[in-house]
Amino acid sequence: MSADREPGETAFERRSRELLTRSADGLSAQVRSRLNRSRQQASAELARNAHAWRWRLPAGAFAAAAAAAVTLVWVSPRTSERTDPARTLADGARVPAVMTTGAAADFDLLVDGEALDLTTSGDPAFHEWAVAQRGFEGPS
C-alpha cells in the first residue's frame, strides 16, 4: 500500500483506511496459511514458465538459423535451374558455369567487375557470336 496520499484526503477517508488496514492485519492463522500456500504455488508456476522460456528462445533461434541455411543451400539452386536459359541447349553442350551455381554465381559476378562489365555492357555482337558457337536457340 502506498503511503503517499492525496493532499485533499478527508478525515473520513483516513479513518476508513485505518479500519480496513487493521482488519487485514488481523487475519486468522488459517487464512494467512492458505494465502501463503497460494503464493508459493504461483511462484512455482512462474518458475516453471520461466524455465520453459529459457529453452524456447535458443531453440527458436536455432530453428530460424537452420531454416535460413536450408533456404540458401536448397532453394537458390532450384531457382537458378528454373530460370537458366542455358538448359535449353539443343546439342547437350556443357552449360556455362556462370549460369549453373545460382546465388553463389550471382555473387561471384558482382564481385568480379570484369565479368559484370561483360554482362551489362550490352555488346550484342559478342553475344550473337557466343550463341552461334554453341548452337544456342534461346529467347532473343
Binding site: A24, L35, R39, A42, L46, N49
Partner: protein, 199 residues
Amino acid sequence: MVPSQGGDGQVTETTETRPRALQEFLRSIEKRAFRIAQIQLRHQDDALDAVQDAMLQLARRYGLRPGAEWRPLFYRILENRIRDTQRRRKVRARVMAWLPSRTDAGGSADDGETALVEHLPDRRAGPEDLVDLDQAMATLESELRQLPRRQRQAFLLRNFEGMDVAETAQAMGCSAGSVKTHYFRAVHTLRDRLRDFQT
C-alpha cells in the same frame, strides 16, 4: 525489492529472480486482496479461492511482464474472478428459487445474489471474528456492500489498496475520469451514511 514500485532494474531481471520478485509482490498485497475479495463475496473460502486463482493467473499469463504492471493486472484478474463467483451465485439462486423446498420456505430470489448470500455463513459470526473486528469495521463493511459495484471497487482500490488514479483505471478497465467520478460518489455516499467516522 518490491516490483510493484517499478524501475529500470526490472528490465534486467533474469528468469531466476522473477519468481522471487513475484513472491515478494504477492506477499505485499495478499492480505488486502483477500479482504477486498471477502468484503465483496461475504465468504471466506470463496474469497481465498478468488485470490488463489488471481495469483496463479498472474503468474501464468503476466509473470514475465515488468513488475510495475503486476498490481493493476492482479486486481483486474481478481475483480473478474469475484464477478464470476457472484454471477454463479445468482444463477444458483435462480435455480434454487424454482425448487419446492425453497418456495415453501418463503425465500424470494428477486434480489439474486443477496438471497443466496443470506444463507452463507457470515464471517463476523465467529467468536474469533467478533474479537478482531469492532463495530465500526462491521458497519463500514456493511455500507461498502451497499454501494454500486463500480463505486465500491474504486473506493477499495484507491482508499484501501492505495493505488493511484491511473493504476485504478487500468485495474477497473475504465478511464481515469470514471475512476474519479466513482470514487467521489463512493466517498460522499459513505460519509453521509457514516457520520460517526469523521472523528
